[in-house]
């Protein structure tokens, strides 16, 4: 299964980065086709441009700087998102990856006379989210839980109609012991390579 991993965290020493390493290692041992987009390493600019706003129903051919990302998104059957939850959602860099790459003719089309967009990512049948949260689940829900809703609803409906989302989260990170965090990290390889 073609698997696309998208990683977002500025700090190499972070728990999120440790998780990303575990997940990528596990996926590599499966021998399945794998692509990794490390948004920080690529210094991905998340700010939708004036040109992109004016041409929001334009064609991906007009976005040569996003070609690698667009190609990977269309290629993927499984999408793995790895990021820290900040302010109850995806960090700006990853939010901007959605804003810019999940564009017209790639993630959706707006047929003439239609009032609703139609999803175009039939290729994506699985989404896995690996995220670390400083807050407890209760605080995240109180803050609106926007990151989870975005993946489960807004993005999933653009993918295959049977697309399933799996969450691999650790909450309340600042109050957990090293042993608890290690146990969470160690649980990840099995989730991504059950036979490994």
């Amino acid at each position: 299964m073609n698997t696309l991993v998208v990683i977002c965290h500025p700090n190499p020493a972070s728990l999120t980065r440790a998780a990303a390493e575990k997940v990528v290692d596990a996926l590599q041992t499966t021998g399945q086709p794998l692509r990794v987009l490390d948004l920080d390493e690529l210094d991905f600019d998340p700010r939708l441009t004036d040109f992109e706003a004016r041409n929001h129903l334009g064609s991906p051919d007009q976005r040569p700087d996003l070609a690698e990302h667009i190609d990977a998104l269309r290629w993927a059957e499984r999408l793995v998102l790895i990021y820290p939850t900040w302010f109850s959602g995806q960090p700006a860099r990853l939010k901007g990856w959605f804003d810019r790459v999940w564009m017209n003719e790639v993630a959706f089309v707006l047929p003439p006379d239609a009032t609703r967009i139609r999803g175009q990512l039939d290729n994506i049948r699985h989404i896995d989210v690996v995220t670390t949260m400083g807050s407890t689940r209760r605080v995240n829900i109180a803050q609106g839980d926007g990151g989870r809703l975005r993946v489960n609803r807004t993005l999933r409906v653009l993918c295959h109609r049977r697309c399933r989302v799996k969450w691999h989260t650790v909450t309340d990170v600042d109050n957990r012991s090293t042993a608890e965090l290690t146990a969470w990290l160690d649980s990840l390889p099995d989730r991504f390579n059950p036979t490994g």
Partner: protein
């Protein structure tokens, strides 16, 4: 009243900019003092850096980036905080989401309780008690029903996550414009009038004319 307007839209010819003009004119007309942060115009860098993440908990003391520090000063002197932006994928544009991440720092926008505190659900304590009015103005591509079904994460970010940083009595005003792509010039004009009207009632001109506080 001191009003801080935070605006995020890359296209100066957009409806979003028209909304911003009405907001600025209305507030100035009411006699308020207005500061504007136009994130695209200042080429704002929204990604938290490695340095900022490593030192996150002490960043306020150790000295944040100078742009961040200047924005913190503007927030500190504001009584009304107004966000104007387009909603993309059920949320704030990245440039604005990142502004919250880099600016709303612990020790400034909120305080963290001691790790030993048992009341974990309340461990984030608000610090922006100077903000007594929070206003969100946004446009959506989708209609109201669809926005609701998708969870309206952007609205939640403003009216819950940012609201939680403000005082207990802070009032929230939410001004959505749905289905922008299919809208008529008349509907857009009507919305601009609504924005002016709602701002005028939310932020009355001077305490002496506003009557006793209720």
């Amino acid at each position: 009243m001191n009003c801080l307007v935070v605006h995020a839209h890359p296209n100066p010819d957009s409806f979003n900019h028209a909304v911003r003009s009405v907001v600025l004119d209305t507030l100035t007309g009411l006699g308020h003092s207005v500061d504007l942060i136009d994130l695209y115009a200042i080429d704002y860098q929204p990604c938290m850096t490695e340095h900022e993440h490593v030192g996150y908990l002490d960043l306020v003391e150790s000295g944040p980036d100078e742009v961040v520090a200047a924005h913190m000063d503007l927030i500190t002197s504001a009584e009304a905080l107004i966000f104007i932006y387009p909603t993309w994928w059920s949320g704030l544009p990245a440039i604005l989401k990142g502004w919250l991440e880099r600016t709303m720092l612990p020790g400034f926008a909120f305080a963290l309780a001691d790790p030993g505190d048992s009341t974990k659900a309340l461990k984030v304590r608000p610090r922006l008690t100077n903000i007594n009015r929070l206003i969100g103005i946004t446009s959506y591509g989708s209609g109201r029903l669809e926005v609701r079904l998708l969870g309206d994460g952007g609205r939640r970010t403003v009216t819950r996550a940012v609201r939680a940083l403000c005082g207990a009595r802070t009032k929230t005003t939410w001004l959505p414009f749905y289905r922008l792509d299919g809208s008529t010039a008349e509907q857009r004009q009507q919305f601009l009038a609504t924005v002016a009207e709602r701002l005028t009632s939310a932020l009355p001109s001077a305490p002496s004319t506003a009557g006793p506080a209720t």
